[in-house]
Subunit: 317 residues, 2 copies
């Protein structure tokens, strides 16, 4: 297929072509990168929703319910699930994936998961690029799910137009744990598992914190929506609040800023991947590879500072 | 102070000079970097212990008990606490810090916390550099604490000679959640809060998984130590297992490899910081700064791909 054929396929929503493109971006394919660059023109009309919250807050069930509701509105949905590659959360996340499988035969639902990697030279397709491909596919809604731990995940959430923070009653001092950072990124709060004890207290505490902050800074106070996991109660309300927030973004002109911020994140992602690859190359070809470096370090023939100066000289000339 | 005076101060264990050096490394000070380079020669004799485990596993109390025990042996202790900058864990971590304050007047205990940042150009002093300074100060033991979420944290744990994974009974399917990744990094398992229900089952499940893996690969099977949080019961046993592991590392020659791996991580850290700074500079001086870029993106005058090519050309010529 020629580049323009691939672009045509992606724009018509072809899932196989999109999946292959994402894999190729992942592999660092130059051609794939060129296609991504072209796809930028065809992006900007999807509504990107970020969903974050503690492990165990019921995010996956909530997302499942949202997918159903959006599909009932005949909207196409893309989902990017961020896997923080944690040895601790591995099990839980696998379970979540399986729960979402019920949409796997629906051509109007396209799901990809991505591992966050803190590594230099981690060549995994960045979330921003996957979102870009999903936009070009014509998805009306793109959901980004993160477990909200670590700076990487907080940065990823900045790709969203509307950020939903999910919490549950009875997480101990959960409200205390929702610190300033989360108040700043939340556009909508969901108190999930609203049939559990302590839901009123959770809502009251949350409202107090939000109003204190809203009053101080004169900004929009995020609404609080209650939902009940499996039964799906409250999903329609949540959809309504998402639409309200979208209207607010467009009427205030904020959506243009959010799209620009997203572009900026993508810029940093591209730079990170490009430079990481250059360094990997230098390490592989210019210094005998990682194994050779490790051997020299083990024999204490060199040290990280001397090596770094050498590599920087080779990369930057 | 001249460079050699600073190095002398650090080597004599002067806490103020060490704290200032770490701050200066944090600020990207070239001189500080030069000192760090010299300090490499005076490192390699500390025992570095990594401690990781789910939030709520009681790591801080355990570390507190370890510090006491090491101090009773008249050993100097450095602690690096990794704060994953999570908006969710903020509260808990603050509490942990306060709990460790009881050692704050002891000149034989030096503690620093560091925020992990996934950002390009994040100039925060890398953990590897802080550990290097603590080694040069003559700390016998250096403890690195992480909450074990995210790839960044798993990478940080690779700085340690001995990695301790802390778990507690009754975390639901906690053993299921301890996946292959954690089995690979653990040198010692601690089942903490051993007065809680289900401790025998936790130990049994853990032992089974460890033996399956140990038999398969013919490797050392990590011991399991039980501890009781506040009372400190089990701490002496844990200390003994740490010493056993250190003996094993030295007699098998593995410690040389681990030191080389640590050097390699430091090499990548140095490269990351150096290149991040170059890109920050280009963005600030070569393209009008982040605000200007955001404005141009908002007006859709440019896109991330064009900007990336421009910046890469400026950085690499």
């Amino acid at each position: 297929m020629t580049t323009s054929e691939i672009i045509q396929k992606i724009r018509s929503g072809d899932i196989r072509t999109a999946a292959r493109l994402i894999r190729n971006i992942d592999d660092g394919d130059e051609l794939a990168y060129g296609i991504l660059k072209e796809l930028h023109t065809f992006s900007g009309s999807s509504h990107i929703i970020g969903i974050t919250g503690n492990p165990g807050a019921g995010k996956s069930t909530l997302i499942n319910n949202l997918i159903k509701a959006f599909r009932n509105q005949n909207k196409k949905v893309g989902i990017v699930a961020i896997d923080p590659s944690s040895p601790f959360s591995g099990g839980a996340i696998l379970g979540d994936r399986i729960r979402m499988q019920e949409h796997s035969n629906d051509p109007g639902v396209f799901m990809r998961s991505v591992a966050t990697r803190g590594n230099l030279g981690g060549l995994s397709a960045s979330t921003s690029s996957i979102v870009r491909v999903m936009e070009a596919m014509g998805n009306d809604v793109i959901i980004i799910e993160t477990v909200g731990v670590g700076q990487d995940e907080v940065d990823i959430i900045k790709l969203a137009h509307t950020t939903i923070v999910v919490t549950v009653p009875g997480l101990g001092d959960d409200i205390q744990a929702i610190k300033a950072g989360i108040l700043e990124i939340a556009d909508i709060f969901v108190v999930n598992k609203a049939d559990k004890d302590g839901v009123e207290k959770t809502i009251r505490d949350l409202r107090l914190m939000l109003e204190l902050k809203g009053n101080k800074e004169g900004i929009r106070i995020p609404p609080i929506v209650t939902t009940k996991g499996i039964s799906g109660e409250g999903t329609e309300n949540l959809i309504k609040e998402i639409e309200n927030h979208r209207t607010y973004l467009i009427s205030s002109g904020k959506d243009n800023f959010l799209n620009a911020r997203r572009d900026y994140i993508e810029l940093l992602d591209i730079l990170k991947i490009n430079i990481g690859r250059r360094i990997d190359n230098i390490i592989e070809t210019g210094t005998g590879g990682k194994e050779e470096i490790l051997k020299r370090l083990e024999r204490r023939e060199t040290n990280p500072y001397v090596l770094a100066e050498d590599i920087i000289k080779k990369v930057f000339g």
